[in-house]
């Protein structure tokens, strides 16, 4: 389909701007624009059609099942979208005085309180913009905490199953990375760990349940190893959807936790964002939190900047408020029933696992939490069919593929996270598609290799994209393909 720039015709326009009715002013000539930007020129009907057509070439949770592991693609309640549009929220300027923003501040304060309870820690900053920014914030808090104590600790330990954001955050925070292995049961190898924790260790970053979808059974022992060495434990909250109301990171021994409001608490993922990455900490770390946090004085709420040891700010204002509205709404609709949410997520995942276990390889044979990882290793060995082929063929069955080739320690990995919001019928249909694909690998591998067959495009040449580097429309110089 055409780009919006290819539909543009000089002289057309959609929006018109009110005439201010005052004397026209100009900027100094040496600062004025020399060439007008080539923005699209279309009337509004064509604009709406264009983006509606783009939406039809996109698959979202509203379209169908989206078991993208580690991303918690659950239903996003529509009431949340209506709520963020309330004029008192949408049209509220972030520099409004506290007296003029009491409702917003109360919502943020209540969200802080609920989030703290869910993870069993003492204080929360809502500010970080997404999970990986929460990680960088948490590591920056670690740095400030140890600097304040006059300790020079330079290393952060992460397991080999970690999300790529963990090592990237460690590097950006100026720490040295120390890797720990995974044992045969899919847990952190505690023996390997013991030799890697010492006086230079600042902390551990861990996802629990892990990216294998398994609960870290020796978590208390791990926490003890770090705390005995004077180090801290950081919880990557990507998989919190498994354990709400069931097990709390603070009780497991974690000192710093980030949440992914777009995963566990249903902020729509928006084709890549926005997210929300609040961070909770134990009391000892509270003095270092970013400013502002929201404080309560009786019935009044205020932005609190009085934090002399703060690390500063990690993004603008108090954080992505619209994300808070949605997360708060979601949590208020579940209430203490958040436990039922996690139970349903875990039940759904185990059901799919049970149905697929004979057709795919299991890296570890345990009950899973909210997600699990299987491998297409034997399909590759016997039929030359890879995890990528399985993923592409799932599209023809009407499903978004799972996360593939992650975690890195599992070859031909397919990481499947159904979430709590799917029906048994949907799960069954997905399982039947996965089983049919496993059979098709033997019967008709070429059809799999050529998949998908039903999408607007077939497999795309990613290597050519990296070579051509066409990353913007070139107007009259643009190659004419469509």
């Amino acid at each position: 389909m055409k780009l919006i720039y290819e539909k543009s015709r000089a002289g057309r326009r959609a929006g018109r701007v009110p005439d201010p009715g005052v004397q026209a002013a100009e900027v100094p000539a040496e600062l004025a624009r020399s060439q007008p930007p080539r923005l699209p020129e279309l009337a509004e009907p064509e604009l709406v059609r264009h983006y509606t057509e783009l939406s039809t070439r996109t698959f979202g949770i509203d379209t169908g099942f989206y078991p993208l592991g580690s991303c918690t693609m659950k239903y996003n309640p529509r009431i949340n979208e209506r709520a963020v549009g309330l004029p008192g929220f949408a049209d509220l300027h972030p520099h409004q005085e506290d007296e003029g923003a009491q409702g917003a501040l109360e919502l943020m304060w209540r969200l802080q309180e609920m989030l703290a309870e869910v993870v069993g820690l003492d204080a929360v900053t809502l500010q970080p913009a997404a999970g990986s920014q929460g990680e960088l914030t948490g590591l920056t808090l670690m740095r400030a905490y140890f600097a304040d104590r006059g300790e020079d600790r330079t290393e952060v330990v992460i397991p080999d199953t970690a999300h790529g954001t963990n090592p990237a955050s460690v590097a950006m925070a100026g720490y040295t990375l120390v890797r720990v292995q995974t044992d045969m049961r899919g847990n952190v190898d505690v023996d390997d760990l013991r030799g890697k924790v010492g006086e230079h260790t600042a902390g551990l970053m861990l996802t629990n349940p892990s990216t294998l979808g398994l609960f870290e059974e020796r978590i208390a022992e791990i926490a003890d190893i770090f705390h005995s060495a004077g180090a801290l434990l950081y919880y990557d909250g990507a998989n919190l959807n498994a354990v709400c109301g069931i097990s709390r990171p603070g009780d497991m021994g974690f000192d710093i936790v980030h949440y992914n409001l777009h995963k566990t608490f249903s902020q729509p993922h928006g084709g890549g964002g926005p997210g929300g990455g609040p961070v909770a900490v134990r009391r000892e770390l509270e003095p270092f939190l970013p400013v502002p946090t929201v404080a309560r004085d009786g019935d009044a709420f205020r932005l609190d900047y009085d934090r002399p040891k703060t690390i500063g700010k990690v993004r603008g204002f108090g954080g992505p408020f619209g994300v808070f509205v949605r997360a708060y709404a979601f949590m208020r609709m579940w209430g203490p029933g958040l436990r039922d949410m996690s139970e349903a997520a875990v039940l759904n995942a185990n059901y799919v696992l049970a149905r697929l276990r004979d057709a795919y390889d299991l890296p570890v044979d345990r009950h899973c939490m909210h997600e699990f990882v299987v491998s297409a290793r034997h399909l590759k060995r016997e039929h030359g069919i890879t995890a990528l082929d399985v993923a592409k063929r799932l599209m023809d069955h009407g499903f978004h593929p799972p996360t593939i080739y992650f975690p890195l320690i599992v070859p031909e990995a397919l990481m499947i996270e159904p979430t709590e919001t799917e029906t048994r019928e949907t799960l069954d249909a997905f399982c039947e598609a996965m089983l049919a694909i496993a059979q098709e690998a033997a019967d008709d591998p070429q059809t799999l290799k050529d998949a998908p067959h039903t999408r607007p495009v077939s497999r795309l040449d990613e290597a050519a994209a990296a070579k051509r580097l066409l990353v913007r429309y070139g107007f009259e110089d643009h190659p004419t393909s469509e």
Partner: protein, 445 residues
């Protein structure tokens, strides 16, 4: 409300298929001492109707720009957001999809990002844009990281006239990046190019705003030249909505152009979610953080779009990545694209020109002494002769929010008010502001 579908019959059948007696058995591997043995202490569940009433009550206790005549700006701007933006954003497919890892499922999102990248490049005069950063503060930290990786230098220079929050965020992350931050004070409301250039020796990059936080127009081409002369990458922090009127940073030699995208089609929403934009000359493409969409073809030669240069990114390169960013602000960036497409080049210029003209009109109409004798864009700073927070408090009682108190961030500016005009304000609104400021100041005297 109910967001799950499992009936008792479903549960029983599923447990049987798994081979366990109860859901509790699935959690047997969680050691007893780390299990929560009580219900979560959170308020009882609400129905949707109850929730709506509660949220409406909370929203009703906020004074938004629909209920109060506001002249607040200072980094977030009350431009009109057309209905088409919200309508398209609420398309469930765009709203509820995630990062387009599987391009065949996500051509719509990918094409929209490609179109967004094009719009950002057009506005800033750059060759490449990423798919968005978190906001106008974090993209400044990103730019510093790019500059350090590119030049190997470990100092960054910030003009003091940059938004204070932008400077705070850079300072938060600079130690981890191994960077030292130097700030260059303003001279009479703008940055002196000679002083700026002197600070840039051995710097990785130098970031300056256009317009600046006081609303003043910086001598941007001279600042960029002064930085470039020292080998520091010149970086302009700009407002998209001024770029129909003001020169593109690419045209005056900047290496990168960054900024807060909220003013383009995003509701103010008490500070977010919005998007940050980051654009660069093509020399820096392999150092950029975040998603970048590129054009390619499928097996049949049809055009398609994919995430490209992913070897920069954390999910491939891990600790060697150019950034840890994964979830970004795509939906808000696409809102920006739709808004810019709605305006077109003429509309963009009209918004800028209207805001500028109204601000000049307000300067004359208010007749208050200007804090700085410099050309301005849509904001200007005036001296009130009494503490600005007091004036704001009293004016709000009369239904007008007169602006931002610059004394919050700058020494010696306790009586300085930053007044912002957008195309949503009218000459009558300015009359009302003049009347209220007159009354409030008269009360004080």
């Amino acid at each position: 409300m109910s967001f799950t579908s499992l009936t008792d019959e479903d549960r029983a059948a599923m447990l049987a298929a798994i081979g366990v007696e109860s859901v509790a058995d699935l959690f047997a591997e969680i050691p007893a001492d780390v299990r929560l043995d009580r219900p979560l202490r959170v308020d009882p569940a609400l129905t949707e109707a109850e929730l709506w009433a509660h949220l409406s009550e909370l929203a009703g206790r906020n004074s938004g720009t629909g209920s109060e005549l506001s002249f607040l700006g200072a980094g977030v701007y009350d431009h009109y957001v057309p209905a088409v933006v919200d309508a398209v954003m609420q398309r469930g497919e765009l709203l509820t999809a995630y990062t387009p890892y599987q391009p065949e499922m996500s051509q719509g999102t990918l094409q929209a990002i490609f179109e967004y990248q094009t719009a950002i490049c057009e506005l800033t005069g750059m060759d490449v844009s990423n798919a968005s950063g978190y906001d106008g503060t974090t993209v400044a930290a990103d730019a510093c990281f790019v500059a350090k990786q590119t030049t190997g230098r470990t100092r960054v220079v910030l003009a003091e006239t940059l938004n204070p929050q932008v400077r705070q965020v850079v300072r938060t992350f600079a130690p981890g990046f191994g960077l030292e931050v130097v700030e260059v004070p303003h001279d009479g409301g703008t940055t002196d190019p000679e002083r700026f250039g002197a600070a840039c020796a051995d710097a990785a990059c130098a970031i300056f705003p256009q317009p600046n936080f006081f609303g003043c127009l910086e001598p941007a081409p001279e600042l960029a030249a002064a930085a470039a002369a020292t080998g520091a990458l010149p970086v302009a922090h700009v407002d998209l909505m001024t770029l129909g009127v003001l020169e593109a940073p690419g045209a005056y030699g900047c290496a990168l152009a960054i900024g807060e995208g909220q003013s383009a089609g995003n509701h103010m929403s008490y500070g977010g979610p919005h998007f940050g934009f980051l654009a660069a000359r093509s020399d820096y493409i392999r150092k950029l953080p975040g998603r970048i969409v590129g054009e390619t073809t499928d097996h049949e030669g049809r055009r398609g779009f994919v995430l490209t240069l992913q070897t920069r990114e954390q999910h491939i390169r891990r600790e060697k990545a150019t950034s840890n960013i994964t979830t970004n602000q795509t939906l808000l960036a696409v809102a920006g694209l739709i808004y810019l497409s709605w305006l077109g080049p003429e509309g963009l210029r009209d918004v800028g020109a209207a805001s500028l003209s109204l601000a000049e009109h307000a300067k004359r109409r208010l007749g208050l002494p200007l804090a700085f004798d410099r050309p301005t864009f849509q904001e200007f700073a005036v001296r009130l002769g009494r503490p600005a927070p007091e004036v704001i408090r009293e004016a709000r009682k009369l239904g007008v929010h007169p602006g931002y108190a610059l004394g919050r961030d700058y020494e010696g500016m306790d009586d300085v008010l930053l007044v912002c005009l957008t195309e949503k304000r009218t000459a009558a609104d300015i009359d009302r502001l003049a009347e209220v400021l007159g009354r409030v100041r008269a009360v004080a005297a």
